[in-house]
């Protein structure tokens, strides 16, 4: 447990953007109960010393308890996380600082830290979705291959298809218009041919 605590603290120093710091420092700022101190002032010095000793002991126990509780809250699920599990998630994330490189292949030390962070999150029992959402919350939608934000996601995924559909509709409409123009021209030419015969017929009649 100590090792894990140490490792986490180190991780915070390596990457100040991590969110785990508040829970670790929490025991150090636990306030002592104010009402107890008020009561101590009204007793005799001996009793007061006894209460103070008890008070110190209680405070120590409280601190120790809160540290244990906090550490337990941080404790991993105990399962061993493989590199492949880390890489599966890292492959879905893009390096927040590099150029369009997925986190699993990026060679920078920053990305190595982020991969390590994914490992810790997996050890803590976080799911893939939770980890991805956590990265998006901290670094924005540029760290995922498709934005999680509903508006951006819709804009990204549907716009090209709308454009393609519009182009198809436009092309279809052009084709229909052209075919109908052809049909009209054909009918006109047939009518033209007939009118020639009608003219001849009328000429015959007039003679």
């Amino acid at each position: 447990m100590f090792n894990q605590f140490f490792v986490r603290t180190t991780a915070i120093f390596v990457n100040p953007l991590t969110q785990t710091s508040s829970s670790i420092t929490q025991p150090l700022v636990s306030p002592a109960p104010a009402s107890e101190e008020t009561t101590v002032k009204q007793r005799s010095p001996r009793i007061r010393r006894g209460f103070m000793r008890w008070g110190r002991l209680m405070m120590f126990l409280l601190l120790a308890l809160s540290t244990v509780v906090s550490a337990q809250a941080q404790e991993t699920t105990g399962r061993v996380v493989t590199d492949d599990e880390v890489n599966t998630i890292a492959h879905k994330l893009y390096c927040p600082v590099c150029e369009n490189i997925t986190l699993d292949t990026c060679g920078t030390s920053a990305c190595a830290d982020w991969r390590y962070e994914i490992r810790l999150q997996l050890e803590q029992g976080m799911t893939e979705t939770q980890i991805v959402e956590d990265f998006v919350r901290r670094f924005g939608d540029r760290v995922v291959g498709t934005p999680l934000d509903p508006t951006l996601r819709a804009l990204s995924l549907y716009t090209p298809w709308l454009v393609v559909a519009a182009a198809l509709f436009f092309a279809g409409a052009m084709l229909v218009r052209r075919r109908s123009a052809q049909a009209v021209a054909k009918a006109a030419s047939v009518q033209g041919e007939n009118s020639h015969y009608v003219d001849l017929f009328e000429q015959d009649l007039s003679n």
């Binding site: 150029e99 490189i101 292949t105 540029r142 995922v144 291959g145 804009l155 990204s156 716009t159 090209p160």
Partner: protein
């Protein structure tokens, strides 16, 4: 001295290009002077000679280690091997712009020399458009990104790079400059650097010829098939180089970038792919104009769109529009490049609209059948353009819109590109299978069905073999089926051709002779089938390597093994701090690969560290074992710093990946065949035509 020669040559090349534009347009449009147009032609050739001199000056400076030239100092160092010194010419922005201008100038001079007689009417405007582009790029070289700037020591003790001597400045010592020289970016120190960028540049700049002739047809009003005849072959040459460039780029990424793949949908990769898509659409649709006199407006849009996307790709890569492993840094050439791209595209489209409004781009024929070859080609064009649209959107549209209008940076990655492009690519393969068997003019479903029966049966049989071999993924099987249909149609159509010839010449020809005769008589058609076959093989490789890729990362102690996909990989130790001739420090893992209990290969993946490099100073070189079935590809990820008793490896098995490269080779052969000049007139007639007055000769 070399800097002065190079700078003066580049400056005069720029002046020659500007002169060529003025002489060509003034001579043709206003003075009606043949002498002026000839003078413009000579200026094009002079421009080529001068740009060659400028390019050679920089190359000689690189080879002779003239570190006082800031470009040489920036991209080379004393311990760099000759090959990288040679390729450093295009290793950074300024040099590559000069090299780009050189290639463009070479293409322009070749087009003027080879097509002067046959395309005399189109030539003046073609010269103007070609030289306008060359002048623009030379202008960038001379005024914005000058590769001939030299280092100067100022009296204050500072150093400054300048083309001219600043007041009171002195030249610093070369030995001091040599000690601090940067050297080429480590990622560029690969054999691929010698061939991939030149191929890609040739592909890019080659499209200037079809573009210039298309624009010339619009400007001059000669909208007959003349411009199509001349531009098709040049477009094919450019397309060949661009295809080669893309394939080699994929191979380079596979070898050097260390992520187990060859195409990452990176914005700059995509930028290079966009002109390929539009160019391919053009090469198909131009056939409709040649055969049926249709799609005149559309072809103009495509030919201008192709070159416009070339300039856009250049702008995106060089101006820092997108972040990418390929892109050059932010540069002052962004605004002029954007302006040039917008102007070029706008002028082209305005000319098309103007000619169309005058009824000069009216089609000679109409579509008569939904299943005719021209209809299917239009559908094919639609798919290419749709691919262009979705890739453009994913690479540039969505990220730029979200950043500028919504204040959010987004990345559209593999998920997006795989999901939107896969159905379109499959539709393209279906059309590749169906279109070659349809007839021009009118075609019926029944007729097509009869011809398609055998290839369909063969494709089904092949898919059956995949099922027997253990492939159960329905989407992969569907993909394989469609891809194989396209391939079988190409083979079947060639077989039918051979059969027909054998019937006619059975007594005189064997099968090989008949096949040879087919390719000689109709290289365009059978070269086209060969290209389709190449694309089929590439498709099989892409599906195999994408859908069935296996991957694992494991930490092994010395003597320990990892198992994946029937292979066993044993870690034998690490050779640390090995120093190469060029100063690189290498950490090399020794691995033994076995299969079925038998040792089959010793692999040595490594990490190279470049101590003198300032920016990206290490590369990961994979160890791989290739068979027809798959590639076993291993990367050294990490190791115990001192003892090297354990090391971490990332292992990939990429099924059928080698088909991508072999398919590429077939595609190149097919393109060479399809573009091979064919004598259509007997020698006697040609001799007569050559004696005829100028302007009436054969191409």
């Amino acid at each position: 001295m070399l800097a002065e020669i190079g700078l003066i040559a580049a400056l005069f090349a720029f002046i020659a290009a500007v002169y060529a534009i003025i002489a060509a347009v003034y001579g043709e449009r206003f003075a009606r002077s043949e002498a002026m147009v000839r003078s413009a032609r000579n200026a094009v050739i002079l421009n080529f000679i001068l740009v060659t001199v400028a390019c050679l000056s920089l190359e000689v400076a690189l080879m002779t280690e003239q570190y006082q030239i800031s470009y040489v100092w920036m991209v080379s160092s004393p311990d760099m091997p000759t090959i990288y010194r040679l390729t450093a010419l295009w290793g950074s922005q300024a040099g590559s712009l000069l090299f780009w201008s050189f290639l463009m100038s070479a293409f322009s001079a070749a087009a003027v020399v080879f097509n002067w007689k046959s395309q005399r009417r189109l030539m003046p405007y073609a010269i103007a458009y070609m030289m306008a582009t060359v002048a623009f790029f030379l202008g960038l070289t001379v005024f914005f990104e000058n590769p001939f700037e030299r280092w100067w020591a100022l009296p204050s003790g500072d150093f400054v790079a300048s083309a001219f001597i600043p007041a009171g400045a002195t030249a610093p010592s070369i030995s001091m400059l040599a000690q601090s020289a940067n050297g080429l970016n480590p990622l560029l120190r690969h054999f691929g650097m010698a061939i991939h960028p030149p191929m890609l540049y040739l592909g890019f700049v080659g499209f200037i010829i079809p573009f210039a002739f298309g624009m010339s047809a619009l400007a001059s009003g000669d909208l007959s098939t003349n411009w199509i005849k001349v531009s098709r072959r040049w477009a094919l040459i450019a397309w060949l180089f661009l295809s080669l460039g893309l394939l080699l780029g994929g191979r380079w990424a596979y070898d050097v970038l260390g992520w187990g793949g060859y195409w990452g949908w990176d914005p700059v990769e995509n930028a290079a792919f966009l002109p390929w898509l539009i160019g391919t659409a053009y090469l198909h649709s131009v056939m409709i104009q040649e055969k049926r006199g249709m799609l005149k407006t559309w072809n103009m849009f495509l030919v201008i769109g192709t070159f416009s996307s070339v300039i856009f790709a250049t702008f995106a890569t060089r101006a820092g529009l997108v972040d990418s492993v390929h892109s050059f840094a932010q540069s002052p050439i962004g605004p002029p490049m954007l302006t040039f791209w917008l102007l070029l595209t706008l002028i082209g489209f305005v000319l098309i609209i103007w000619r169309r409004s005058r009824g000069e781009l009216k089609d000679d024929n109409q579509f008569r059948s939904v299943f005719s070859r021209e209809s299917l080609f239009v559908l094919n064009n639609f798919v290419f353009v749709a691919l262009f649209a979705v890739i453009f959107w994913g690479s540039f549209g969505a990220p730029i819109i979200s950043e500028y209008f919504m204040g959010t940076n987004i990345t559209l990655g593999l998920d997006y590109f795989n999901s939107v492009t896969a159905p379109l690519f499959l539709l393209l393969y279906l059309l590749m299978g169906v279109a070659p068997i349809s007839a021009w003019g009118v075609s019926t479903v029944a007729r097509m069905g009869r011809t398609l029966l055998t290839p369909l049966a063969l494709a089904a049989l092949s898919v059956g073999l995949f099922v027997i071999s253990g492939v159960t993924n329905v989407w992969a099987l569907l993909g394989y089926g469609l891809v194989l249909l396209a391939g079988w149609v190409a083979i079947y159509e060639t077989y039918r051709g051979v059969l027909a010839r054998r019937k006619a010449h059975a007594s005189r020809e064997n099968v090989l002779q008949s096949l040879g005769a087919l390719f000689t008589r109709n290289p365009r058609r059978y070269g086209g089938y060969m290209i389709h076959l190449g694309i089929t093989i590439i498709g099989l490789g892409v599906i195999g390597s994408m859908v069935f890729q296996q991957e694992t990362q494991q930490t092994l102690t010395v003597g320990q093994s990892a198992q994946i996909g029937g292979y066993e990989l044993r870690y034998d130790g690490l050779d640390t701090n090995q120093i190469a001739d060029d100063g690189r420090i290498m950490d090399i893992a020794n691995l033994t690969l076995s299969r079925g209990g038998q040792e089959i290969a010793h692999l040595r993946p490594r990490r190279d560290f470049f101590p003198e490099a300032t920016d990206m100073n290490s590369t990961t070189i994979a160890g791989s074992y290739s068979t027809i079935e798959n590639d076993f590809y291993v990367l050294l990820v990490n190791w115990e710093p001192i003892s090297a008793s354990s090391a971490t490896f990332k292992i990939y098995i990429n099924p059928l990946v080698n088909l991508v490269w072999w398919g590429g080779l077939i595609l190149i052969l097919g393109t060479l065949l399809a573009g091979y000049p064919r004598e259509t007139l007997p020698a006697r007639v040609r001799a007569k035509l050559e004696l005829a007055p100028q302007g009436q000769g054969a191409d």
